[in-house]
Each structure stands twice: as structure tokens, then as C-alpha cells.
């Protein structure tokens, strides 16, 4: 499975990530030399975390498909743990939560691993959707029943179902692209994460007009437009690594960045409703796992289905 070490395009993508990290680290250290404040310390903490995240992601790709499936399964698990922590469940939900964490989540990723698309697509929206309220009802506590069932289901959809579409890219059969699907996953993750980074950078440099100040004080129109434009250009520039033409790669990247933005905004709205700043503190400078993958949650399924519909 390590064969794609011989895949020149993938190596170029890895090299590109490495180059960006080196440049970011140098810029971060230069900024720190010039003056030190909370924003720059946080920036450097984020860059350090990016090195770790990139290394973990690259290693998971090197193991072939199974490493990526396991990595995203763990991300789902930790993200769901953060989400459920903020959800006001009651003791009677314990049984349902056991199933959610220890049966449904592993099962969803097992379906990705064995590439059973049919069940993968309906396990959570159909089976889990009916199972969870039933299991809670069996426990016999009616207080805030609909709220509890709905929130657990929603967490499962966002943290597990949506995220599992990223490694599911590996199961797509794209003509004359066989064995190269890892690049598709790399394209999605690079574009969606760089879009976050570029929106952050544009926002810090030029940001004036806030989009939704109550929900996310750091999201500005300048950051959004600049980030979407540059991330779309980045996606177009990576067309050679994908099964897409230049224009198609740009369109895909555009949709990924828009979905990523909406994901970040939506997940922020939930945080504000729960009265917290971040979902967790697992990743230095970034917050929790869910803070880092919120945009991927929304971009992943749409990118998956567009690719599946138009290219397989």
C-alpha cells in the first residue's frame, strides 16, 4: 500500500504542505521577534499544532486506506465526545449513548473500510435515527424527550456521518483514477483547511465588517471573500492531482470553501448557544477536535456526492 510513495503527484502535495509549514513557521517566528502579543502566541501555537496534524494525516495516508479510516474514526469519536459533553443528556440516555459511541460509530467506519456504500449511506440517517429515540423511550424518562433524542442524533450526524464521508472518498471508483483516491482525500483536506487558514489570515489583515458578530466575532466579509477567492485559486492550482479539469477543480474548491465556511458558522452558533468558546482543548491553539474539523463536517459529504455523481 506504500506504493503511492512512488506516486509523484502525492509526493508533490506532501512537499507543498511541508513548504507551507516551513514558511508559516518562519513568518511566525519573525512576527514574534518583532513584537510579542496574545494573537501572535496563539498563531505560533496553531502552527505547531499544524505540524503535528499534518504529520498524523500524512502517516495515516501512508498506511493505505485503513490508516485514514482509523484516523477519521478517532476524530469522529473525539468530536462526538466533545459534542455530547455540551449536550444536556440525562441518566436515562446512558444506554443510547453507549450504542452511539461503541456500536454505531465503529460500525459506520467499518462500512467505510469494507466499502459497503449502500449501508454506509443510510446507517445513521435511517437506522440510528429510529433506534436512538426508541432506546431512550425504553429507558422511560420523558423529560425533554424530543430535545435529547434530537441532539444526540444531530451530534451523530455531524461528528460521525458527515466526517466519515472524507475517508469514504477512498471507495469511489473513478475511471482512469484507480488507486489514486488518496489524492482526492488530500485535495479535500488541503482545500478545506487552507480555506480556514486563508479566511483567518485575510480576516486578521483586512477584516473590518463582521458577518455575524454575535455568532462568530472573528468572521468578517473581508476574510470570507479573500479566503474563498484564494482557496478557490489554490484548488484550481492543484487540478493536476485530481481527476478534475482546471475549471472543475476550481468549482469543487469553491464549493468546499463555501461549505466549510457554513460549517464553521453553524458549529459556532451551537457553541454560542451552549455558552462556550471552544468545544474542547485537545489541540493547542485551536481548541477541540470539533473546532478544527467543523468545516470538514460540512464540506466532506457535499464533495463526496458531487464527485460520486459527476465522476464515477
Amino acid at each position: 500500500m506504500v506504493n503511492f510513495l512512488h506516486d509523484r503527484q502525492t509526493l508533490w502535495l506532501f512537499g507543498g504542505i511541508l513548504g507551507v509549514l516551513v514558511v508559516a513557521t518562519v513568518v511566525g517566528q519573525l512576527l514574534k521577534l518583532r513584537r510579542s502579543n496574545a494573537v501572535i502566541d496563539n498563531l505560533n501555537a496553531r502552527i505547531r499544532a499544524w505540524w503535528v496534524m499534518s504529520a498524523v494525516f500524512a502517516l495515516s495516508l501512508l498506511t493505505g486506506g485503513i490508516g485514514s479510516v482509523i484516523l477519521f474514526a478517532l476524530l469522529s469519536f473525539f468530536a462526538l465526545r466533545e459534542f455530547i459533553t455540551l449536550t444536556p443528556t440525562r441518566p436515562a440516555d446512558h444506554g443510547a449513548l453507549f450504542w452511539v459511541f461503541f456500536v454505531i460509530t465503529p460500525l459506520q467506519y467499518w462500512l467505510v473500510a469494507i466499502q459497503w456504500y449502500g449501508l454506509f449511506a443510510v446507517l445513521i440517517p435511517v437506522y440510528a435515527f429510529l433506534f436512538i429515540p426508541s432506546r431512550i423511550a425504553v429507558s422511560g424518562d420523558p423529560e425533554r424527550f424530543l430535545e435529547r433524542s434530537a441532539k444526540i442524533q444531530w451530534g451523530l450526524m455531524v461528528c460521525v456521518y458527515c466526517v466519515s464521508h472524507a475517508p469514504a472518498l477512498l471507495m469511489l471508483r473513478i475511471p482512469s483514477f484507480e488507486g489514486k483516491n488518496a489524492r482526492l482525500l488530500l485535495f479535500l483536506v488541503v482545500v478545506v483547511q487552507m480555506s480556514d487558514v486563508l479566511q483567518y489570515v485575510w480576516g486578521k489583515v483586512l477584516g473590518r465588517h463582521k458577518i455575524a458578530p454575535v455568532i462568530s466575532p472573528s468572521k468578517t466579509w473581508e476574510g470570507f471573500l479573500g479566503g474563498v477567492a484564494t482557496a478557490t485559486l489554490l484548488g484550481a492550482a492543484l487540478w493536476w492531482a485530481t481527476p478534475f479539469s482546471r475549471a472543475q477543480a476550481a468549482a469543487m474548491a469553491f464549493i468546499i470553501t463555501i461549505m466549510g465556511f457554513l460549517g464553521g458558522l453553524t458549529m459556532s452558533a451551537i457553541k454560542r448557544d451552549s455558552g462556550v468558546k471552544d468545544y474542547g482543548s485537545m489541540i493547542e491553539g485551536h481548541g477541540g477536535v470539533l473546532d478544527r474539523i467543523d468545516s470538514l463536517c460540512f464540506a466532506g459529504p457535499i464533495f463526496f456526492h458531487l464527485t460520486r455523481y459527476f465522476f464515477t
Binding site: F77, R81, I84, T85, T89, P91, H94, F101, F102
Partner: protein, 216 residues
């Protein structure tokens, strides 16, 4: 082997409950201490113990209920070999606080405080739960007198309040299998029984120290 199992226990505790540890005015060193915490789950001491630096774990002995932990199999092994726990009878504690009823013979048992003082020895620290039984995770129950008696008997030992948040959702009362949920462990400033301090005001002060950590 024991080390590997201890690392496994700590890893499992972090996977289930996260590794969030907050520390207010406290330093971790090998001074003898009694950590006293709110009690909402059988896993409380496991998480508190896991939150300590590794060098202190070997010196820190949780006080655990014999009827739950001294059972054949994994629990007894962990309690004896990994946690080095001090086991006490819960039944004996209630009998001590309730006057003997006519016709019910009071079993002759050692005073649990004696057992705890022995467990403390010259170099160990203890983890105790002064509420005695697990609460519902929302209210902090009244404290039993054990903490006061320990503090009086060993004025050289620091008493450290600890608040464990959200762990009751990981393993609620009556459940067997834990689910993942981010919990946190907050250590407060060390305190002592002041000279001449009476039992009730001290227990109130200790209880408030934990409530203070909850607000913070």
C-alpha cells in the same frame, strides 16, 4: 507489567473522560496530602489518580469501598496492585454513625479512621470522598466527620479540596459501562484544621472549598 497496566488505566481514563486538569494555587510535589473530593461515580478516584503526575501516583492511595472493589477478578487486582488502595467497609461507617439498634449486633470492626491513618503512614497520600456515598452529581452532600478526624490526627498533612466535574455522566449510578464524556478535575488550595477549630465549622469550610472550585 504493573507500570504498563497503570499507564493503560490512565490512558483509558483519558479516552473516556478527557485529560482536563485545572490547578488553583497548588503545586504537585511529594508532600503528604489528603485529597478530598465530591463523589458521584465509582470512577472518581480513578480519574483523580490519573490526573496526578506519574511520580505522585505511586505515593497516592485512593480510599475505596471494599464491597465494590474487593471482588474477585480485575477490580481486586487493580485495587491491590495498581492503585494500592486502602479498602474500607461502607457498612461499618454507617454503623458507627448510627446508634446500635436493639437486637442488631454491632460487628466488632476496626475504626475506619485507624485504617486510613495506617494507610497514610509516613510517606503516602490519600484520596477520600467525605460525602461517604455517591451523590447525584448536582448537589454536594453533607460531609462525614472522617476528614476532620484525619486532619486532627495528622496536622502535618495538607488537605487538598478537589472538584470532579461531569464524571457522573461518564458512569452514572447503577450503570456498568462508562460512556465517553469530557470531565475535569480541579485542585484547590491546601487547607488544614486550624488550632481549636470545631468539627462542624471545619467541615463546612471544607465543603465550601469544593463548592468554590465548582463556581470557578
Amino acid at each position: 507489567m504493573k507500570r504498563a497496566i497503570a499507564a493503560g488505566v490512565v490512558g483509558l481514563a483519558r479516552i473516556l473522560a478527557g485529560g482536563s486538569v485545572r490547578c488553583l494555587e497548588c503545586e504537585f510535589d511529594s508532600r503528604q496530602r489528603i485529597y478530598f473530593a465530591n463523589h458521584t461515580s465509582h470512577l472518581d478516584f480513578v480519574l483523580l489518580w490519573s490526573a496526578l503526575p506519574r511520580s505522585l501516583r505511586a505515593l497516592t492511595r485512593p480510599v475505596a469501598a471494599r464491597d465494590y472493589w474487593d471482588r474477585a477478578g480485575l477490580r481486586r487486582y487493580l485495587v491491590a496492585n495498581v492503585f494500592n488502595a486502602v479498602l474500607v467497609e461502607r457498612v461499618a461507617q454507617t454503623l458507627l454513625s448510627v446508634p446500635a439498634q436493639a437486637g442488631v449486633p454491632v460487628p466488632h470492626r476496626k475504626d475506619p479512621i485507624e485504617i486510613l491513618l495506617e494507610g497514610l503512614g509516613e510517606r503516602h497520600s490519600l484520596i477520600i470522598f467525605p460525602e461517604g456515598t455517591r451523590g447525584n452529581g448536582v448537589q454536594l452532600g453533607p460531609f462525614r466527620s472522617g476528614l476532620y478526624r484525619l486532619g486532627k490526627a495528622r496536622p502535618d498533612v495538607e488537605l487538598v479540596p478537589v472538584y470532579i466535574d461531569n464524571l457522573n455522566r461518564v458512569l452514572p449510578k447503577g450503570e456498568f459501562i462508562p460512556v465517553p464524556m469530557l470531565a475535569s478535575v480541579s485542585f484547590g488550595a491546601p487547607m488544614r484544621v486550624e488550632v481549636g477549630e470545631e468539627k462542624d465549622p471545619f467541615l463546612e469550610r471544607a465543603r465550601n472549598a469544593i463548592l468554590e472550585l465548582r463556581r470557578w
